[in-house]
Symmetry: C2
Subunit: 412 residues, 2 copies
Amino acid sequence: MSAHIVLTSHPRKGEAASPEIHWGAATPQQRGPIVASLTNPVHRNAIGSHSGAYAVYRALAVASGQLQRDHRPDFTNTAPAEAIGPHPQWSDADKIVSLDPWGHMASSAFAERVAAGVDIRPTIAVTKAHINMPELRAAVIAGRLHPDGDILHANGDVRVTKAAVDPVWYLPGLAKRFGIKESMLRRSLFEQTAGMFPELVTRSDLKVFLPPIGGMTLYFFGDVSRLGRPETRVACRVHDECNGSDVFGSDICTCRPYLAHGIEVCIEMAQQGGVGLVVYNRKEGRALGEVTKFLVYNARKRQNGGDRAETYFERTECVAGVQDMRFQELMPDVFHWLGITRIDRWASMSNMKHGALAAQGIDVVERVPIPDELIPADARVEMDAKKAAGYFSHYTPDATELALPKGRGLEE
Amino acid sequence: MSAHIVLTSHPRKGEAASPEIHWGAATPQQRGPIVASLTNPVHRNAIGSHSGAYAVYRALAVASGQLQRDHRPDFTNTAPAEAIGPHPQWSDADKIVSLDPWGHMASSAFAERVAAGVDIRPTIAVTKAHINMPELRAAVIAGRLHPDGDILHANGDVRVTKAAVDPVWYLPGLAKRFGIKESMLRRSLFEQTAGMFPELVTRSDLKVFLPPIGGMTLYFFGDVSRLGRPETRVACRVHDECNGSDVFGSDICTCRPYLAHGIEVCIEMAQQGGVGLVVYNRKEGRALGEVTKFLVYNARKRQNGGDRAETYFERTECVAGVQDMRFQELMPDVFHWLGITRIDRWASMSNMKHGALAAQGIDVVERVPIPDELIPADARVEMDAKKAAGYFSHYTPDATELALPKGRGLEE
């Protein structure tokens, strides 16, 4: 290890980064691989590194002597378990700006360069699994779901294809999506994180950034190869992580019940010959994080007048400065990646998600609200507040109702 | 906004960072607040910023004009819903190195400084909730759990206290825990993340780092105020995130079944007058991330000879370079924070977790393995491999058994 520490890099005069990246090019060879590996800094053409925030753990592994700093992954047998794409949307630089459409093909599409010693790593992995959720078994027993022995088994097992997707941001495209200058975006990303990645400001020639944030997981129900064909009917739920409900079943929100309902809708669609898709985004507490989320819970439950819909968003704003940081503007990228232009059944009431799809030209045919009987006791406050703010619903509560405390107190 | 961008900061000659941090001091006033806010850089005495990786979303919010860069949180009514500590372990600088023991009291313990304009934020939030999991309802119906109308209700609702904890790393303590030089740790954290936070190397005077990684969530069952008393019996499961099983019930591992079983053990302990605790760590795929995890699944299921225990760890090492990056060495910090010196019922078979507790002087009285009937179909490979590697079990499989393919193929 050299004694000299390089605090940041600078563009080499007269030289473009090699390999060059032509975002939105029609073939992987024209687009070029994304190289964010640390084993040979000369090959790098992106800011950041692989595996998102888990890079910090990788750094600990090197620091503690458990991982060789020049370890090169062996990707034998890891190729996608189902082919995805290419789709026409991949060759439009404006349609996909927050993931690498070729990310699951990295080791095959660039096999020659990998063999020549360039450390190219996939940012997407596609595998298969069986899942089994108690709610789906209950749906079978209640007669809402019918086992077919293929997609859904009698014991409640569901066959899925699933994909993990790490974020890959094309900074000029991201700036365009938000209608801001790229230089402003870069500077904010650097300064407002307290100095993550000085290359954001010193390397304007590097256009691709791998941010250290959580990515997404996709669960496919039915035949993935049918995606991208206009005749294929698609059912979908886009779900933003809520650990307290998704795992532990906290009753203050509708997250897990709506997710389980969305999966039911997806299974039905697959059984009818269409494709079901659940997109699970790692954006805990509206991307404010769980500490902020719990602080807001306390403020809601202790405020004068009790926990009620009319002050629901205000309590979040007091603590976080905004109501929401999920930036649904980037959410439609995954549909462009999958070649989806129409969603026939959309298991979501969110006006923000719906608006983001519309802005990207993706049609939503039918919106499927959560069935009333699935809304947990303490989640009425959230549901009313969201309906009043524009959520899709057949019923909008009035001011009198929004002022009623419907949430439990902290000590109840 | 100034035209000048500061790439990194340097220590001011002859001046210590203000406020000073004396890690391990017995009172919050002697210890000093941790200031990682961006609203006034002069006050900062830590590297990184609040909310872990969600700082990236906060930066997007500023860049897109949705969040004022000088927003100051209003923490009215957000204080902890239950008191935790102080415990004697808090004033030993070596016992807690990866969280701030005063992190939940930040706005009260440092109220004067907050009033004077210093932007001090909590890194821990404590609230209360009701949770309800289908597995717990099933345990009530099966007669394993008995509703008491207080901790466990007849409808399956469980009253819990919960806490979200963001990581706060005291770098000298972390280096000591791993037996490495602090300078080596800082340099690896900087270089092996592709340049996150140059202050890691330019500001050796700043000893505290808020890494942009996921934190943990604690679920308490029973009376939290009894923790720290020698007579209080404690049941515990430390669970490392596995989204595929915890949320979707993938049958390739035992994660959600063991978590649900651990919660049963915790409820029983609370009903007997003790305290149950679930620690949920955001360390997806052994802290390798989900992309790596899915690549490994494919390699396991496609290898010659099929998916079997004898090659279980090897397939991970081929891709990731190591078997595991969770660094259980830091895991015991949360027990020191809660004043826990003895765990009476420990719902885990992991030799790594058990060894980490022993190294920190925390006694484990009884180890509770997952009941055999809860192990899903495709999880036998993992279970056998772990037992052979030293997991706590009454049965260790032999070489013949480890060579048997027990996992499904990809197309099954």
